[in-house]
């Protein structure tokens, strides 16, 4: 689960729930920018140093890797059971097979034998159990351990009453059996997350400073010296890698000032100092004109959604008619072309186009096109009369000022609402959304950690994700609008209990249709457009990966 504070993917690392993963590309428009494809089948030549900039990650030790920058490093240092390609398709990495029993309460993974960590230690089932247990342990206080929560024994590890993971067992060195306390037919998708990485004995407990800064892994690259905080991280090729070896000799990752990292990255790219860079939003048009023709421009819709979060249990948006009225009143296309200059697209669903199979174009009927008459009629029905005060909170520092004002203006123009916009820091915004006095609506964004629609629907809309504190009545979960519909909850439960993928997807689609199409529990606005520049003159097979990072393990010199 991750909430994103910026329209860009810059890791603000502002919140504990800012983990990573993305299923990119998909049905996304790659615009006309001419995205260099991963299939430029150039003869691969080993060698070379690839350079790029990131901001200081929270952690690179897999037990606590959360934002895209940490994931960039950890995904290259570790290889787990599964991998997910740029289109969100899952495949085996170290796993040779992954099967579940009939009710999805038990999963069995067969692991490729004979592979080793870069220090020579064997990567066996014990290494996986060690890694997962280490992350789930109470002392680790990991921000991402919750990804392991379905496994039996997780609770005991978290409260410190156990030191071994009850649900994990290893009949032999290459078989890992996982017993789930919470049945899940798509548990295997989760294992793509870096928190499911195997670790060697040398890792020790999560508090091991030496290992935190210089993790020894089994991935395509290994660390060259420890992490130099706020300065740099250097990776070199792991020649003992079990799968397809990397071509690059080295990767030099500079750690930049987070206040203007995208500006620094782009300047560095222009100066020939970096081979890959993000860009400031304001420079996109000009950059595209410069780098598009040179085939150095990357533009795609990633896994993520920008939406409005209406408070559904009290206040002016309590009724679904009110929420529908707001949605119909917004002219998304005008904002997309006027403010975003086409670098984001109108969202017509909550589950993004990147989820190719589950994506339902237009499931949010009110999103497709502004309809002033319908908006007015619905508003009248809901008692959302002109002059009604509507609170609209957003976080500062994320580049949201412009479009937030545009939305507010449209609501004023069409519905005559007295929209009160307020910009506050991201952490404060999250807190405010969850208090029991929240009303109106908030700017929000979400990206899934695993390529399943359930990772959008369940955390954001299920009743169990509200987590209302019985004493304070403040919420603790991510269903911050406190939408609650038993029919929706039942559909989600049915979906996770369905083994057949196509069947499961259909159920998810029904659930989305109910919560978004009918109840308008969230108001989708824009897709998560991503833009990068990359030096394709020098590098072959350079493209973005599932996590919106460059595909370092595949890049080679031209």
């Amino acid at each position: 689960m991750r909430l994103t504070s910026t329209m860009r993917w810059t890791a603000v690392a502002a919140t504990a729930v800012l983990a990573v993963a993305a299923c990119s590309n998909g049905g996304g428009s790659s615009n006309d920018g001419g995205k260099p494809t991963a299939s430029d089948n150039a003869p691969t030549k080993d060698g070379g140093t690839f350079r790029l900039g990131i901001v200081e990650p929270t952690a690179i030790d897999p037990y606590n890797v959360q934002e895209s920058e940490g994931t960039l490093v950890a995904q290259n240092l570790f290889t787990g059971l599964t991998s997910v390609d740029v289109n969100g398709k899952i495949s085996n990495a170290l796993a040779e097979s992954r099967t579940s029993n009939d009710d999805c309460s038990q999963w069995t993974f067969k692991i490729k034998g004979g592979t080793t960590f870069s220090n020579g230690e064997a990567v066996d089932t014990a290494a996986f159990i060690r890694g997962w247990t280490r992350a789930a342990a109470k002392d680790a206080a990991s921000d991402v351990a919750y990804h392991l929560n379905e496994i039996d024994g997780f609770k005991e590890l978290q409260d410190g009453s156990a030191t071994a993971f009850k649900g994990l067992s290893a009949p032999d060195a290459t078989t890992l059996v996982v017993n789930l306390a919470i049945k899940d037919c798509e548990f295997d998708l989760r294992t793509f997350h870096t928190v499911f990485s195997p670790v060697p004995k040398e890792a020790g407990p999560a508090g091991n400073k030496t290992y935190n800064d210089q993790p020894i892994g089994n991935g395509p690259f290994k660390m060259e010296g420890p992490w130099q905080h706020n300065s740099k991280i250097t990776l070199v090729r792991n020649d003992k890698y079990a799968l397809a070896k990397a071509h690059l000799d080295r990767v030099e990752i500079s750690i930049l000032n987070s206040a203007n990292a995208d500006q620094l990255e782009y300047q560095g790219f222009q100066a020939g100092q970096f081979d890959w860079a993000r860009l400031p939003t304001e420079q996109l048009s000009v950059a595209k004109a410069t780098y598009g023709p040179k085939n150095e421009w990357f533009d795609w819709d990633a896994n993520g959604m920008n939406y409005l979060l209406p408070i559904t249990y009290q206040g002016p948006l309590k009724s679904k008619e009110a929420r529908l009225a707001v949605s119909y009143a917004i002219d998304r296309d005008a904002i997309v072309s006027g403010v975003f200059k086409g670098f984001r697209h109108t969202a017509t669903s909550l589950v993004p186009p990147a989820f190719k199979d589950a994506f339902q174009d237009g499931v949010c009927a009110s999103c497709v096109k502004q309809d002033k008459e319908k908006a007015k009629a619905l508003a009248a029905q809901a008692g959302l009369t002109p002059g009604t005060k509507l609170y609209f909170g957003y976080n500062t520092g994320g580049g949201h000022e412009a479009w937030v004002q545009a939305v507010a203006q449209q609501l004023k123009d069409v519905l005559g609402l007295d929209v009160q916009i307020e910009g506050i820091p991201f952490k404060e915004l999250l807190k405010k959304e969850n208090t029991n006095s929240a009303t109106g609506m908030y700017r929000a964004a979400w990206g899934a950690d695993y390529p399943t629609p359930g990772n959008f629907l369940a955390p954001l809309l299920a009743t169990s994700s509200i987590g209302e504190d019985p004493a304070t009545h403040d919420a603790t979960g991510d269903n911050r609008g406190r939408y609650s519909n038993p029919a929706f909850d039942a559909l989600l439960q049915k979906a996770t209990a369905t083994k057949d993928i196509a069947e499961r997807t259909k159920i998810y689609q029904q659930a989305e249709k109910l919560a978004i199409g009918e109840d308008q529990a969230l108001i989708p606005l824009f897709t998560r457009g991503q833009q990068r520049v990359g030096n394709t003159e020098k590098w072959a097979n350079l493209t973005y990966d599932f996590n919106e990072n460059p595909s370092l393990a595949k890049v080679s010199q031209k």
Partner: protein
């Protein structure tokens, strides 16, 4: 700006209180004619400074712009037109449009209102707090002096922007929180200035005389000490209106000033920042407005100093 309390004398002329009190007391025996001459002299000394005149033109221009903004501005500064965002300068939009298609020129014109209100009100408030505390410290001395000045030291030592950000974060955004925080972090200088001039003024013979005649503390301070020690404070105040405008723009630029939809120079600079080198018209006009306003008040302050206190030249 604090000596604008004027009273009509027998001659029907508006003269400052500091002179008026001299007449009934009959101590100085200055006739009204003499007063008028003094004002003329002050104006002559001010006008002798050519830059001060330039500054005056800028300041008056700013005030007129602020007052008559609705008449001057070619467009509604809040009117968004998403079909015409980021337009370069054209006949219809002399300085182009911003990211929401709003007219840049109109926004700069309306921005002068916030600048004037924040600049003037915050300085008035700053002077008020500073004068009251400075006068108490200087006049009563000892315990009051120590207390006020140590208190002033605390505010003096605190960086203005950081202090203002803290205050605004606590009480919320808006024009008045900005004014308040500028005053809270500005009074210390005024208090110090005034205290030192009160210290010298209170030892003057006419003060002793007034006391001997039975004048109370308040009367002595208001009628005898303040009028003779306030000049440096007024000069400081004039200089600092521009500084307050810059500080207010900085706060908005940092996202803690007024709300982003309000046409305000710092907001405009903030949204123009990313376009440096791409769409330069986005930030040039608001920058120019801030610079000219600031310069205007500095020049005027220079002139006021020449006029009120030629010794300081």
């Amino acid at each position: 700006m604090t000596d604008d309390k004027t009273t009509a004398t027998a001659a029907g002329r508006a003269v400052p209180r500091q002179r008026e009190d001299a007449d009934p007391a009959g101590t100085s025996g200055e006739p009204a004619v003499r007063v008028v001459k003094e004002w003329q002299e002050i104006w002559h000394r001010f006008a002798a400074n050519k830059l001060a005149l330039v500054g005056l033109v800028l300041v008056v221009g700013l005030l007129l712009t602020a007052v008559f903004a609705p008449l001057i501005a070619p467009h509604d500064p809040l009117r968004q037109d998403l079909l015409k965002t980021l337009q370069p300068p054209s006949a219809d939009h002399l300085f182009g449009t911003d990211i929401l298609g709003r007219d840049q020129l109109s926004r700069v014109i309306y921005g002068s209102r916030i600048a004037v209100v924040v600049g003037v009100v915050s300085i008035v408030l700053t002077l008020f707090i500073g004068i009251v505390l400075g006068a108490i410290a200087g006049y009563f001395g000892r315990f009051y002096d120590t207390l006020t000045m140590r208190f002033a030291d605390v505010f003096f030592a605190f960086p203005l922007l950081i202090g203002a950000i803290i205050i605004i974060t606590v009480i919320g955004r808006g024009v008045w929180p900005v004014v308040l925080s500028l005053a809270i972090f500005g009074w210390a200088t005024v208090a110090r200035l005034l205290r030192s001039s009160v210290l010298s003024a209170r030892e003057m013979d006419y003060v002793h005389a007034a006391r001997a005649l039975g004048a109370g503390h308040l009367r002595v301070i208001l009628r005898h000490i303040l009028p003779n020690s306030i000049a440096p404070v007024i000069i400081y105040g004039t200089f600092n209106v521009g500084t307050a405008v810059v500080a207010e723009a900085s706060l908005s630029y940092l996202g803690v000033g007024v709300s982003p939809e309000i046409p305000e120079w710092g907001n405009m600079l903030a949204s123009g920042r990313g376009f440096i080198g791409v769409y330069d018209y986005m930030w040039t006009l608001p920058s120019l407005a801030v610079v000219l306003t600031s310069l205007g008040f500095i020049f005027v302050g220079d002139g006021v100093r020449d006029a009120l206190d030629p010794k300081l030249r």
